[in-house]
């Protein structure tokens, strides 16, 4: 059976086993520490804070790529499973109770935001890269605005060429009424988030419907424009997915620092008022 597992499956299995072991070890440690009467909040809180600190080091590690400290993928795996461990310890710490105090509510929300954004990041990092790699042309994110501009220019050239050569304004009218807006900005963001091709298919279908009103020479230009429409759709999909892959960190990382600060204060308070 083991031989049939892929590398990733094996890795997932091992890491999940390690996570369970860590949780079990923590639980045993907590029971020993509690001894039936001691408040374990100090232990679980310290563990949680320490885990968050270690998790935050992942960001530092990315800024120091020249230091030979394990592979980035190893760090990523550690970050993911340590994150799950932190979530488990968090529920040990809070006892599955909702907080009542103002500061604790804020801290609770921030932790949940960091944890949920982490989970979201994990999900999208498992889905979007594959889609980006397998659908259409892979584009560099920073080049996308320029490429969109370039694509629009190319389409307008085709339209002009069509008008000049066929003396027909069918394509030109279509461009003015629908395609100009389509090519000028990023479109169908939500549909791209969920991987839908409905919008581009509808538009392509609509363009194909125009063929009956076109002369044969004009249909050649129409085919080129449809190619551009598909390229624009891919471009939008790349922009959307890569954008999400980049911008989810705008929640995860800043809130992590906020969480560390608030967690530190919370810990000091707990010690001062214990």
């Amino acid at each position: 059976m083991a031989s049939t597992l892929t590398f990733f499956s094996k890795r997932r299995l091992i890491n999940f086993g390690l996570l369970l072991s860590a949780v079990a070890a923590f639980w045993v440690l907590q029971e020993i520490y509690a001894n039936g009467i001691h408040a374990t909040a100090i232990l679980s809180g310290a563990t949680l804070f320490g885990t968050c600190l270690v998790l935050a080091l992942f960001n530092a590690r990315k800024k120091l790529p020249f230091i030979p400290l394990l592979k980035a993928s190893t760090w990523t795996q550690f970050h993911i499973y340590a994150g799950w461990f932190a979530v488990v310890v968090f529920f040990f710490h809070t006892g599955l109770r909702l907080p009542d105090g103002r500061f604790e509510i804020a801290l609770y929300i921030v932790f949940l935001a960091v944890a949920l954004s982490g989970v979201l990041g994990l999900i999208i990092s498992r889905i979007y890269p594959s889609r980006l790699r397998l659908y259409g042309e892979n584009l560099i994110y920073e080049r996308i605005p320029g490429l969109r501009q370039q694509l629009q220019t190319d389409v307008e050239k085709i339209i002009w060429k069509s008008v000049n050569e066929t003396k027909s304004f069918t394509l030109a009218r279509m461009y003015e009424s629908k395609l100009k807006d389509y090519f000028s900005t990023k479109k169908n963001t939500l549909l791209h988030l969920v991987g839908s091709e409905e919008a581009v298919n509808d538009l392509t279908e609509e363009l194909n419907q125009l063929q009956r009103y076109m002369v044969a020479s004009e249909r050649v230009f129409l085919a080129e424009i449809i190619e551009c429409v598909k390229a624009k759709d891919n471009l939008d999909m790349q922009a959307t997915c890569q954008g999400v892959l980049k911008y989810w960190l705008f929640i995860h990382i800043p809130l992590t620092f906020s969480l560390l600060l608030m967690g530190l204060l919370h810990g000091l308070m707990a010690l001062a008022f214990n």
Binding site: R102, F103, R131, P145, F273
Partner: protein, 763 residues
């Protein structure tokens, strides 16, 4: 939706389409996403090759820097920029294609960095503002406290020593270790839990050790206590009581595992493994000796009047105000119907409280000159009450010690030291009586060292003055004054020869007034009675009068013939007959002042028993107490307990309830009544017919040594309901942690700054 989800994860499809990017060096610009700034014209594909500097300044100038080759300026625009331009450089060698300046924008990475800085700054700012605001405590309050702790005027610093500190001191106190203990002490400002509230169970270490010894046979307290206690053995309140969990949180709820930290013999639950009840709920003998078995089996069935017989347990027992304990009803409700007559028996003599003790006639004769007056026919003993009065007299004590075991009525001639001791005792007795006659209650207080209240028993001066009657010691006060002054006895008080005294008879003048027991009679006259020798015949009269306590019968020995006979006056009854309802009287028969018990719970006898019990700290004092106790029947039912180092205590009442007393176990009778079987109380309390109940009261002062009238309660009886599926079986359902008697802490009306405890009870 399902299709979308499929596409969301479907990675199998790939399509061919128009390619937009070119990666050859002529057309592909190198991207540097790790730089903080990027060209603002990038969207228009017109960004310059230099890009912005590290501070975000546009560095755009021209598309190339022409190079002079010979006398010509050549364009150097790179292929990636479109190659050499057709126009070429200007004559002055500058590029003809100026790049329009842009407003550089932040890269994604830089935006994220900025977001981090902003969020951190916002967080820090919010924290600092929150710490600085007056509402700081509310902001950092981790949650609502229980309703009692949330009353108006109760602020954080009522419980937390750190709460009134500055914010910086808050944080500093996180690294000190004293705040926990100090905060627990603040709990004690409102919660009185005894003298050592933070010790395990509120008990001193030695007390805990004793209890442990009793239960386990080993005095060593579980070392696990050390794991939760500080170096002084204190366990902070917050160890078990976790606050800030809401208004309705049960702060007293403690998990069983908390108990089992120290109580290391762990078991599954009450039905499975709980130690068997050794004698529960009987932890001592009953305070009132009442043999349930004898009464129910013998006395009640044999009672003449079955109406007086209790019909059930609740005829004599009733729950306390909290429905917790079953208490015995009082004497009048439970016992008086059968036992009131046995306490005050008609015709019974009162208790001799004070008396002129009898002395050896030969001794009296020999010491007549130095001893003064002494009723030769006095033959009673020194009363136990007088012995307590004489305890304050060292000489008398020494004399009593010398005379220990000697019959005062028959002093051996071979031991002259006994005569001296007897004379000392006789004078001590006379001094005592004289002091009582003169100073009354003050003497009681002075001699006994306690307030005369109760011990005086409302005795009147006239009763005491009986001692100065002509037949008793008429010159008592004069003689005692002379004796104390070290002078010879005055001539008036010159003692009559004993023989003469013996034959002393009532003076011919006003004989009735002298000899009567009338406590209102003019005894001052008796004090002045002349000590004249009387005829021997009078002895018979005097003796007869003394024996009858009534010489009125004998006084009018000469019949009046010359005058018409008046109707005979009704003859007053005297002595104990006159005081049949209880009270004081003087008895001429034995020269004693006696007290007749007024009924159950007589305050005079009770006060003396309590006084004597408190003095019984030595074997001799214990015997003295027993002698005093034998003068009445109180201790037939009221058991006596030895208090270590503090004498005895008479149990006047059966077990009483005190809502402020917390024992290790608690039980609520009221909630169980509806669960009883047809056997009623005997569902749990079954009489043990073989129990030697009374034996525990005979010559036993230790209440812990006892045999109950009842069998121990069967644990499985309780366990039939008290299990996890039923009525629950947590430790604190039946056990208290804080042990002792705790009075509520009250605020003084005169000093509102410091809450004071009503008392510091002992556990």
């Amino acid at each position: 939706m399902g299709l979308w989800l499929w596409r969301l994860i479907d990675t199998s499809a790939q399509t061919d389409m128009k390619r937009l990017q070119r990666f050859d060096f002529k057309f592909s610009r190198y991207q540097r996403p790790n730089q903080d700034w990027e060209c603002g014209s990038a969207d228009a594909c017109a960004h310059c090759p230099l890009g912005p500097d590290s501070k975000g300044q546009c560095r755009a100038t021209t598309e190339c820097k022409p190079r002079k080759e010979g006398d010509r300026w050549n364009c150097t625009r790179s292929d990636s920029q479109g190659g050499k331009c057709a126009e070429g450089p200007l004559p002055d060698g500058t590029c003809c294609k100026a790049i329009p300046p842009c407003t550089p924008r932040r890269s994604v990475r830089s935006q994220r960095k900025l977001a981090v800085v902003l969020v951190v700054a916002l967080t820090l700012g919010a924290i600092l503002i929150a710490l600085g605001l007056p509402s700081r405590n509310q902001t950092f309050n981790p949650g609502p406290v229980i309703a009692q702790h949330a009353a108006d005027g109760i602020s954080c610093d009522r419980c937390h020593t750190t709460a009134q500190l500055t914010s910086s001191a808050w944080l500093a106190s996180a690294f000190t270790t004293s705040s926990t203990h100090a905060s627990s002490e603040r709990c004690m400002a409102c919660h009185n839990l005894g003298a050592q509230p933070m010790q395990p169970h509120g008990l001193k270490a030695e007390e805990l050790s004793l209890i442990t010894q009793k239960i386990t046979g080993s005095g060593s307290v579980n070392t696990a206590v050390g794991a939760i206690a500080d170096h002084q053995g204190n366990v902070s309140c917050a160890t078990c009581h976790k606050e800030h969990h809401g208004r309705d949180f049960d702060l007293k709820k403690v998990a069983d595992s908390s108990c089992q930290v120290c109580h290391s013999v762990q078991f599954e639950g009450f039905p499975n493994g709980h130690p068997d009840f050794k004698s529960y709920p009987y932890d001592r003998r009953t305070r009132i000796m009442f043999d349930h078995n004898a009464h129910i089996s013998n006395y009640f069935p044999a009672a003449k009047d079955q109406k007086t017989v209790p019909q059930g347990c609740n005829s004599c027992h009733v729950t306390d105000s909290a429905n917790r304990l079953m208490l015995a009803r009082n004497f009048e409700q439970s016992c008086a119907q059968c036992h009131s007559d046995t306490i005050v028996r008609p015709g019974a003599a009162g208790i001799a409280i004070l008396s002129v003790p009898g002395l050896d006639p030969a001794f009296l004769k020999a010491r007549a000159a130095t001893l003064g007056q002494w009723p030769a026919d006095a033959d009673g003993p020194l009363t136990p009450f007088m012995r307590y009065f004489l305890m304050s007299d060292a000489k008398a004590q020494a004399a009593l010690e010398t005379l220990k075991g000697v019959d005062l009525m028959s002093l051996p001639r071979s031991r002259p030291e006994l005569d001296a001791a007897a004379e000392t005792l006789a004078w001590a007795t006379k001094e005592l009586i004289a002091d009582l006659v003169i100073s009354g209650h003050d003497t009681i207080k002075k001699r006994l060292g306690v307030s005369a209240t109760g011990l005086a028993g409302s005795i009147s001066p006239e009763i005491i003055q009986a001692f100065t009657r002509a037949e008793w010691i008429p010159d008592l006060l004069v003689e005692v004054a002379a004796h104390r002054a070290g002078q010879a006895l005055p001539s008036k008080a010159t003692p009559k020869p004993v023989a003469t005294v013996v034959v002393a008879a009532p003076a011919p003048v006003k004989p009735a007034a002298k000899a009567t027991d009338d406590i209102l009679g003019g005894d001052d006259i008796l004090a002045d009675a002349p000590a004249v020798p009387v005829k021997p015949v009078a002895k018979t009269v005097a003796k007869a009068a003394a024996l009858d306590d009534d010489i009125i019968d004998d006084a009018p020995s000469t019949p009046v013939v010359s005058k018409p006979v008046a109707p005979a006056a009704p003859k007053p009854i005297l002595g104990e007959k006159w005081t049949s309802g209880g009270g004081w009287y003087a008895s001429n028969s034995d020269y004693s002042v006696r007290y007749r018990i007024t009924g159950h719970a007589d305050p005079f006898v009770k006060a003396w028993l309590e006084y004597a019990a408190a003095q019984a700290t030595t074997p001799d004092a214990l015997n003295q107490f027993k002698t005093l106790a034998e003068t009445n029947s109180c201790t037939k039912c009221h058991s006596i307990d030895q208090k270590p180092g503090a004498g005895l205590v008479v149990n006047w009442h059966s077990a009483t309830t005190n809502t402020q007393t917390h024992k290790f176990t608690k039980f609520d009778h009221g909630t169980h009544f509806s669960l009883l079987s047809e056997k009623g109380c005997q569902s749990c309390h079954q009489i043990d017919p073989a129990a030697q109940y009374k034996a525990a009261f005979k010559d036993n002062l230790n209440p812990a040594v006892f045999t109950s009238n009842f069998q121990k309660v069967n644990l499985m009886n309780c366990a039939s309901c008290h299990n996890p599926q039923g009525a629950g079986n947590s430790c604190t359902l039946c056990h208290n942690y804080h042990i002792g008697t705790f009075t509520p802490t009250v605020k003084s009306a005169f000093n509102n700054d410091k809450p004071v405890s009503a008392s510091v009870p002992k556990p």
